[in-house]
């Protein structure tokens, strides 16, 4: 089962004693603010977790996979995530337990 905003709010309710409405509002606003920063052209750096960066992609040739017809992929801005050292190390440790 994947972690969702509902479980995050539940955790804030349990650990901080925020009421359920406040906890839900905080979690919503957390992701709203990160999204707003990225939409406004800001990188987002969350130390201990990772960085969300923006990249501008040039136009490149593409293809309609159904018809095989060539259509250019328009230039666009995309979000990339780069996990920090600490998160990478914690996740790598998980690989060991899998083998």
């Amino acid at each position: 089962m994947a972690l969702t905003k509902a479980e995050m709010a539940e955790k804030l309710f349990e650990e901080l004693g925020l009421n359920k409405r406040e906890a839900k509002e905080l979690v919503e606003l957390f992701f709203d603010e990160v999204r707003a920063a990225l939409s406004g052209g800001s990188q987002v750096k969350l130390s201990g977790f990772g960085n969300f960066n923006l990249r501008n992609k040039k136009q490149r040739p593409g293809r309609n996979p159904k018809t095989g017809e060539e259509i250019p992929i328009s230039p666009r801005r995309v979000v990339t995530f780069h996990p920090g050292q600490k998160l990478k190390a914690r996740v790598e440790a998980y690989a060991g337990s899998q083998q």
Binding site: K11, L46, G48, N56, V79, K88, R90
Partner: protein
Amino acid sequence: MTDTYDDGDKAMTKSELIDTLAQKLNHLTYKDVEFSVKTILEQMAQTLATGGRIEIRGFGSFSLHHRPPRMGRNPKTGEPVPLEGKYVPHFKPGKELRDRVNSNAE
């Protein structure tokens, strides 16, 4: 990397995010907001560190991608070194985030 976006190095840090949230949630104390942000990030990190996924509608999803074992090289000596397979965190932006980021890119 030539296509990395660079607009005067605009960046939001964790402490700026906490400040913004604390201003908007003025019925909560700064300490509560600070601890909440740290709790959210720790829960996300812990989920990934135990092989789980994170799904945030309108924002995106985090999962683990496997990197198979490969031969690396000691950059100093050029000697081949076997590297074990590992997992790395991966983020896939959701549709709303993709659309908003791209539509504001003029």
